[in-house]
C-alpha cells in the first residue's frame, strides 16, 4: 500500500490516539511542573464511627482570586516530585539519618503516601497475576474435558465476573462480605467472634481485595487458555500415550510448553490492567488501608475544594514511569524478534 493511501486510511484513528492519549501525557507533565498558588490552609476535623481525623483543607475564598488569574499556578520545577506526597526525598534522607535499624528505615519509608501506594499496587499486581494464571489454567483444563453440550452455558457462567465493571463486581462481593452481609456473618459464626470484620484489619482488607482481583481476572485467563488448548497438537499426545506417559506428564511436557506464549500474553495483560487498580478500592471502601497509585490521582482530582493538578500530574508521570519499567522486558523481546526477522 502506498504511503499516501496508508496515511489517509490511518489518519483519523492516529489523530484520535495522538490527541487523546499522546498529548495528555505531555499535558500531565506540564501540569506536574506547576503548583497551585499559595493556599490558606485550615485544619478540619472529620469524625466517623471509627475515630476522628484532622485533615488539612484549603480556605477557598482566599485562594480563588489568585486562581482565576493564573489557573495552573506558578512554575515549580520538579519540586512537586520531591515533596512529601510523592518521592519524599527529604523525608527519606531524614529517616535514613535517624534510623535505628534497617527494618525501621524501611517501615518509615513505607509509611510515606507514595511508597504506601506503590507497595499496595505492586503487591496487588504480583499476587493476583500468578494466581490468575494458575487458576485460569486449571479451570480451562477442566472445562475442556466436559461434554460439548454443557460447554456453552458453563463458559457463560464462568466469564460473568469478567464482563461486569470492576466497580459493580467489587460492590456485589462487598455486600456479601460486609459484616452485615451473608458471608461476613458466616465468617463471624465460623470464628465465633461477633466483632470480626474483614474491613477492620489491614491485612484482611488486602487479602479481600486480592481475592476480588483473582475472581475478576481468572475468567480472562480461562478463556484465553481454553482457546489455546484447542490448538494443542494431538499427535505428540497420542505418541506420549503409547509411550506410557501419565496424564500429569502429558500436561507437564506437551501442553504446558505449547501454552507458554499464551501465558506470557495473559501475564502481560493482567499486569497492565491490575496496575491501574482503582474501582475495587472504592467499591470495598478500603481507602483507609489500601491506596493504589491510581487512587491517589483520583483523590487529587476529586479534591472538593481544589483540584490538585500538579500533584495528580506528578503521580501520573511516576505511574507511567513504572508502567514503562514493567513493559521494558516485553518491548525488548519484541524488538529482538523484530531484529532477527529482518
Amino acid at each position: 500500500m502506498p504511503h499516501k493511501t496508508f496515511f489517509w486510511f490511518f489518519f483519523p484513528s492516529g489523530l484520535a490516539m495522538l490527541i487523546f492519549i499522546g498529548l495528555p501525557i505531555f499535558s500531565s507533565l506540564f501540569q506536574s511542573l506547576h503548583i497551585q498558588p499559595e493556599q490558606v490552609l485550615i485544619e478540619v476535623e472529620t469524625c466517623d464511627p471509627f475515630g476522628c481525623d484532622t485533615e488539612v483543607q484549603v480556605d477557598q475564598e482566599a485562594t480563588n482570586v489568585f486562581r482565576e488569574e493564573n489557573p495552573l499556578g506558578r512554575f515549580n520545577g520538579f519540586k512537586t516530585y520531591a515533596d512529601r506526597n510523592h518521592l519524599a526525598l527529604n523525608e527519606i534522607a531524614e529517616a535514613w539519618n535517624n534510623k535505628t535499624s534497617f527494618s525501621n528505615f524501611i517501615s518509615s519509608v513505607l509509611n510515606l503516601p507514595f511508597y504506601k501506594g506503590l507497595l499496595f499496587t505492586l503487591t496487588f499486581c504480583f499476587s493476583v497475576t500468578p494466581c490468575v494464571i494458575v487458576l485460569g489454567f486449571i479451570v480451562a483444563l477442566s472445562v475442556n474435558v466436559i461434554a460439548k453440550s454443557l460447554k456453552g452455558p458453563i463458559i457463560f457462567g464462568t466469564i460473568l465476573p469478567m464482563i461486569v465493571t470492576p466497580l459493580i463486581g467489587s460492590l456485589v462481593l462487598f455486600w456479601m462480605i460486609d459484616s452485615q452481609g451473608i458471608l461476613g456473618a458466616a465468617i463471624q459464626v465460623l470464628f465465633d467472634d461477633p466483632n470480626l470484620s474483614l474491613k477492620s484489619s489491614k491485612s484482611l482488607t488486602w487479602i479481600m481485595l486480592i481475592v476480588y482481583g483473582i475472581w475478576h481476572n481468572t475468567p480472562f485467563a480461562f478463556v484465553v487458555f481454553y482457546a489455546g488448548l484447542q490448538t494443542v497438537p494431538q499427535d505428540p499426545i497420542e505418541a506420549a500415550i503409547i509411550d506410557g506417559a501419565s496424564r500429569a506428564q502429558r500436561v507437564r511436557h506437551i501442553v504446558l510448553p505449547h501454552l507458554y506464549p499464551v501465558a506470557t500474553f495473559i501475564a502481560l495483560i493482567c499486569l497492565m490492567d491490575n496496575f491501574r487498580v482503582l474501582e475495587p478500592i472504592l467499591g470495598f471502601s478500603a481507602e483507609g488501608v489500601a491506596q493504589s497509585l491510581s487512587w491517589m490521582i483520583y483523590k487529587d482530582l476529586r479534591n472538593e475544594t481544589l483540584m490538585l493538578f500538579g500533584s495528580a500530574g506528578a503521580t501520573s508521570m511516576l505511574t507511567i514511569l513504572f508502567i514503562g519499567i514493567l513493559l521494558t522486558p516485553v518491548l525488548l523481546r519484541t524488538w529482538k524478534e523484530f531484529k532477527t526477522e529482518r
Binding site: 486510511f9 492516529g14 498529548l23 479451570v139 457462567g157 464482563i163 456485589v172 456473618a185 505511574t319
Partner: protein, 293 residues
Amino acid sequence: MESKVNKYSSQLIIINSVFIILWLTISIFPFLWTLWGSFKVKADFFSRSDWWYAISGFNTMIETGGSFTFNGYIESWTEGAFWKAARNTVIVTFFVVTVSLFLGTLGAYALSRSTYKYTFWILIAALIFRAMPHITLVSGYLFPFFELQIWGILPTTIIVLVAINQPFTLWLLYSFFKTVPKELDESALIDGCSYFQAFRHVIMPIMWPGVVTAGLFSLMLAYNDFTVTSLLLNQQNYTMVPKINAYLGTVEHGGNYMWAVASVVSATAPLFMIVMFFQRNLISGLTAGAIKG
C-alpha cells in the same frame, strides 16, 4: 483417535465435576444473591441479626407488606434519576461503538495491508498506549478541557472513550484483517477499484464476525467505564456506573443503599443479555491476540 485421547477415569470425572460446580458457584452466586436482595429492604439485605431474613424477607414483610418489593427499582429510576443515567449510557455506548468501529476498521485495514516498517512501530506504540492507566490520561485532560470549556458534556466523553479504545480495537481488527487473504483486494485493485472501494465492497462484507467482536469490546468498554465518565462528566450527565458510585456516596445521609443495589442489577442485566447473545464473538476476540502469541 479422539476417544483414545479423551478417555478418563471415573475418579477424575467426579473431581472435575465437583471443581466445575464449585467454580460456577463462586462466579455466579454473588450475582444471584444481589438479584434476590434487590427485591428486599435494607434491613433484610444487610441483616445483622439473622441472615435467614435475607431469604425469607422478614423486614420486607413488615415494611412493605409483601416478601418482595420493587421500591428500590421504582425509587432509583424515578427519584434517583437513574433513567437519565441509563439514557446517557445508551447514547455514549452507541456513539463510542459506531465511531470506534469506523476509525478502527480503516486504520487496522491500512496496518494489515502496508508492508512498510512503520506499521510495526505504530502497533508497538498502540501497545504502549493500551498500557496507560486511564486515570493518568484523565489527569491530563481535565485542565485543558476546563480551559476550553468542553468539560462535563457527553460529546467530549465519547471522543475520549473512542480514542482510549483505539489501541485495542486496532490490534484486534489487525489480527482479523491479517486472516483475510491479500489476493482478494489485490484482484479488486487490478480490476480498477481504488483502495477505499476494495475495502468497502470486497473486504468489509466478509469481515462482519471480526467487526462484531470489536464492536462488542467497544460496547463493554463504553458501558463499563468508570474512570473517564466519573471525572469528565458533570453530575447531570453521569452514566450508570458513576451514578451508582454517587448513590453510595450518599449512604450516610439517606437510605439510598437499596437504590445502589437495584441499579447494580438494572445496569448488569442488559450487559449479561448482550454477552449471552454474542458469546461466541467475545471468545473469538479474546483469543485472537493469544493465538499469535
